[in-house]
């Protein structure tokens, strides 16, 4: 049991790490990765939603009739997304302002719904939690990696939490502003995907 739990958890960190291996949830990956802080915030929000929705769907999997299962998944996921939205508004307001519309859009981000359909509806609660935790943390890590690259090269800073840069490149550094714009996000993610393919295809 412990072994299969570990397996479900670790697959999200490498073998199926979203959004690289499991190409879902691209929009927030592009939109919120201007600074590391936002990437981490989005990762935490998604992990919370994913773990809760996976747990509930897995607990209710024998009660939910298969014909209306998608509607039920949507209700459950949307409920937790709204909870995250309210909590963030109450306790991390600045982050809520920068993530903005991408918090409610976790509902259609495909990862929670995709995991509900592909995993939680077929497996027990413990395994589902492990699955959600792994994929959520994996997603957070990918976002953080991309955000770090974009923030360091694009702005010359690195902000972990609270809006104050933990690290700056110094006055001689000329920031590559292109990375902070929309095209920069697309190209950055594309190159990172290429790098992942290069490492994985050995």
């Amino acid at each position: 049991m412990a072994q299969s739990l570990a397996k479900e958890f670790t697959k999200g960190l490498w073998a199926e790490i979203p959004p690289f291996r499991l190409v879902l949830g691209l929009c927030p990956a592009l939109a919120v990765t201007k600074s590391l802080e936002n990437g981490i915030g989005m990762g935490i929000a998604l992990t919370f939603v994913l773990v809760c929705s996976n747990l509930f769907i897995s607990l209710l999997r024998n009660i939910i009739p298969s014909k209306v299962r998608i509607a039920c998944f949507i209700v459950i996921v949307a409920t937790f997304v709204t909870i995250v939205e309210l909590l963030m508004q109450a306790y991390a307001y600045e982050l809520f302002l920068t993530l903005g519309i991408f918090i409610p859009l976790i509902v259609v981000n495909c990862i929670p719904l995709g995991r509900a359909e592909a995993f939680a509806y077929k497996n027990g609660p413990l395994l589902s939690i492990a699955d959600g935790l792994g994929l959520g943390i994996g997603y957070g890590l990918s976002l953080s990696a991309l955000a770090s690259v974009r923030e360091i090269l694009g702005n010359g800073t690195l902000t972990v939490w609270g809006g104050i840069p933990a690290f700056t490149m110094g006055p001689d550094f000329l920031p590559f502003k292109f990375l902070l714009t929309a095209p920069g996000a697309f190209v950055g993610l594309g190159l990172m995907l290429c790098l992942m393919n290069l490492i994985g295809k050995k």
């Binding site: 879902l24 929009c27 592009l30 309210l86 519309i101 714009t181 929309a182 594309g190 995907l193 790098l195």
Partner: protein
């Protein structure tokens, strides 16, 4: 009237939903491998988004606001969109089978297209009136279609090119999208 025109231009080109607002990327990469599918998806999104924009605006104004339950927005909007997509699918199948034949397979994908829910939420957030919401919904969807069709055109060519192995498929797709986004950036300052 002039203002509405400016709104249309800004939604299609300057604030293009895909390339400037980062919404709807999954179907963007998923359905852009062939021109035919791209056109089908673009039409389906325009159709559904205009309906969804109108419907969610009415729900927000006449149900959520009077009852003071605006926090149920996300939940109710996504359910409305899901139900709407189902309904449109059934309706088209029965009454306009020809249209269903060309759009049918894209409809279920639209529920999880974040551009649809995104535009509905933007309409509410920016406090647009009903007419403005209709116009922005159409314009954003048209912008989505435009970007998707342009991208599909480029991608059909890429299939013939020799792309290095690690860059293939989604990776080169994202970089191409970046190039298109760059051209769209030059529209900034038009309004």
């Amino acid at each position: 009237m002039g203002d509405l025109f400016v709104l249309v231009i800004s939604c299609i080109f300057i604030n293009n939903i895909l390339l400037a607002q980062y919404l709807g990327n999954c179907p963007f990469l998923g359905t852009s491998k062939k021109m035919e599918t791209a056109i089908g998806m673009a039409m389906a999104v325009i159709f559904v988004l205009v309906l969804a924009g109108a419907l969610t605006w009415i729900i927000n104004e006449y149900m959520l606001k009077p009852m003071d339950v605006v926090y149920l927005q996300t939940l109710s909007f996504i359910l409305v969109i899901a139900a709407l997509v189902q309904f449109v699918e059934m309706f088209l199948k029965k009454s306009i089978p020809a249209l269903y034949g060309s759009l049918g397979i894209y409809l279920p994908l639209i529920t999880t297209n974040c551009a649809v829910l995104g535009v509905c939420l933007i309409n509410i957030k920016e406090e647009y009136t009903f007419v403005e919401s209709l116009v922005t919904s159409f314009a954003y969807a048209a912008g989505f279609g435009l970007a998707l069709i342009l991208f599909a055109g480029v991608r059909e060519r890429i299939l013939l090119a020799r792309v290095p192995k690690p860059l293939q498929d989604v990776s080169i797709g994202l970089i191409t999208a970046g190039m298109i986004a760059m051209t769209f950036m030059s529209f900034k300052g038009m309004v």
